[in-house]
Point group: C2
Chain length 366, copies 2
């Protein structure tokens, strides 16, 4: 194997496929990056058996071949290459060591045989395709991912739900205590699937801010997510998702409008004394155009009040402050509207303009 590749292409590819490499695995080969040079194209693959990422980059291939190199060393070496030269020369010697040269710097590492590496099979038979702009997909995942369950006995809650109906795509995260829905118009046919939470997180890290199209191709069991030169392959989560639309519908008896930063700061102050206390909650007492925020734990007491624009009946309601904070932090809007249906009913937090985000939070008993 022998090829020449642009330094920046190499860095980008390794950064991307590395996200699917196992850091510690009982199967040693999964800690490696697969590299194949063929037909003036170099393929990099990381595969932890949950998620597989493939990047293909044009390169000047002088000798075809393939190998697996230890990901952590190779990736660190790639990032430390001298930045005054833009070409990197990679080749394998008679002892199966890979050498990586750029400028005056040269790294040599041992390699493993490419035969052992689990290469994914890609089959686009009977796939349905969802097409969406990269920056929009990134923001939709970012705004809903926080609500995905970390540990839940219901497997479907550990994933991010994609539901496309009548040209509206909803992406939904939920963990029994809160629910986040982000919606966008998308010109594809109806489709729905549950992407594993971990995959969603890595996908969000791989996605950039461009308006390039991302193609999500779905078979029964797997998603093949194509962007630029890369494909992410992941299993899908089986099962039906919950009926999130009915949860999001709630009769409103009170709505308040407030600056996102003000209420975020106030709840954050109250949360100070709850962080180490178990089952601590904060109480919102809303009346006369004020939200009174009160919290009391073994660590002390915090009181705050916030002037708001209020329409409806007064209410007194309690929350786990962390759930409110995460909802507020994920709204990209200077002002928000919060709707209350009663002290035992979930609240709905929305940006003041647009209908594309809704964050539902369940109150606690007090």
């Amino acid at each position: 194997m022998k090829f020449k590749i642009k330094r920046q292409d190499l860095i980008n590819s390794v950064n991307t496929v590395e996200k699917a490499v196992s850091i510690k695995s009982t199967i040693n080969i999964l800690e490696g990056i697969y590299i194949e040079a063929k037909n003036n194209e170099v393929t990099f693959i990381g595969n932890n058996l949950e998620l597989c990422i493939i990047c293909k980059i044009p390169a000047q291939v002088d000798l075809e071949g393939s190998l697996v190199v230890k990901a952590n060393l190779f990736s660190s070496a790639v990032k430390k290459l001298p930045d005054f030269d833009e070409d990197v020369f990679i080749e394998i010697d008679e002892n199966s060591n890979i050498s990586l040269s750029c400028g005056n710097a040269k790294f040599n590492f041992s390699t493993a045989s490419a035969d052992e590496f689990p290469k994914p099979s890609i089959s686009y038979e009977n796939v349905k395709t969802l097409k969406i702009k990269e920056n929009i997909l990134k923001s939709m995942i970012r705004q809903t991912m926080y609500a995905v369950a970390q540990n839940d006995i219901k497997p479907y809650l550990s994933g991010l739900y994609f539901n496309l109906e009548n040209k509206i795509l909803d992406i939904v995260g939920c963990d029994s205590y809160r629910l986040a829905i982000r919606s966008e118009e998308v010109d594809s046919e109806n489709i729905s699937f549950i992407l594993p939470g971990k995959t969603a997180k890595e996908l969000c890290a791989v996605l950039g801010e461009s308006e390039d199209e991302v193609y999500i191709k779905l078979s029964d069991k797997n998603a093949f997510i194509e962007l630029n030169n890369c494909i992410l392959i992941t299993r899908l989560i089986d099962g039906n998702y919950l009926n999130y639309k009915s949860i999001a519908e709630n009769e409103s008896k009170l709505s308040i409008i407030t600056e996102t930063k003000s209420i975020l700061d106030s709840v954050d102050r109250a949360a100070l004394i709850t962080s180490e206390a178990t089952k601590a909650y904060i109480i919102l007492d809303i009346e006369n155009d004020y939200v009174f925020i009160n919290c009391e734990t073994v660590f002390g007491k915090v009181n705050d009040k916030l002037s708001v624009n209020m329409v409806g009946e007064p209410i007194k309601i309690a929350f786990n402050p962390r759930y409110l904070l995460e909802a507020f932090k994920n709204i990209d809007s200077q002002e928000i509207k919060i709707e209350f249906a009663g002290p035992r009913n979930p609240i709905s937090i929305k940006p003041i303009e647009g209908k594309n985000f809704n964050s539902i939070v369940v109150p606690v008993k007090f």
Copy 2:
């Protein structure tokens, strides 16, 4: 106790004294901040028995008094105060709880009695004084602290040595493998002392970039470091420091001049494969206006070369790369001069201009 204080003064004082508060101590009171209001001045003290920091701030005192408050909660509360109001009202209620009000936000915490808190005694009898500008002292400590021994059986090596002779102050850090000396002209009388490494680190964090004068007042056992409204009190380390000047003198057989960033990057690349290997070293082979950098461990091989300006005999010499990297990182100069006396002799790394910094590194056998 009842007083009004500027929010920013409160934040600065708490940030500063907090650096001397024990995070976990068997003596509970040492996890607290002592607060005393008296004569329109508020005093904050943190004291972990190694280092004590006192800040005095003007305030409108309505009722005198003193107490101790848990540092972590109080400090977090102070940092979370609303930023639209600049006054903070602090008072103690009949249950000995402290309340902290700013804008609409109000925190309440329990307190402990001020009587239990170990207040330091300050005596300026028979002290010698060293006067130096804040920004200069900060840069001198920053540039030498890295070389102070972390774990050494010789107690004096765990401190930073201050030696003022004939209007030249040397600050020296040393750990048997390397030595850093930073010098400045200072208009004070001859003096020398060893400041504990931990104190030096906290002092560096407290010091700002102003040209205000810092007064270091020295008794036999203690240093009292006065800057602005604060005093740091620390014990000094007993014993004589080593004769650093003789170590720094070495006959030069070869000198090279190179860009700091280039050699730093090259050594950093070679160090990649040494981080997890034990007793790994890199070899510098200097000849024909090139430094050839070679490293080989079980993890692989790295080779690099660097064009330099060289005067003297060729040399082949090996180092622990970490010691070279830390020396290079602490030189504030685009170009450096490295002097070699032989493959077994320490090298000297200096900025190309000025004589105010010298970093000595001992080579390893190979």
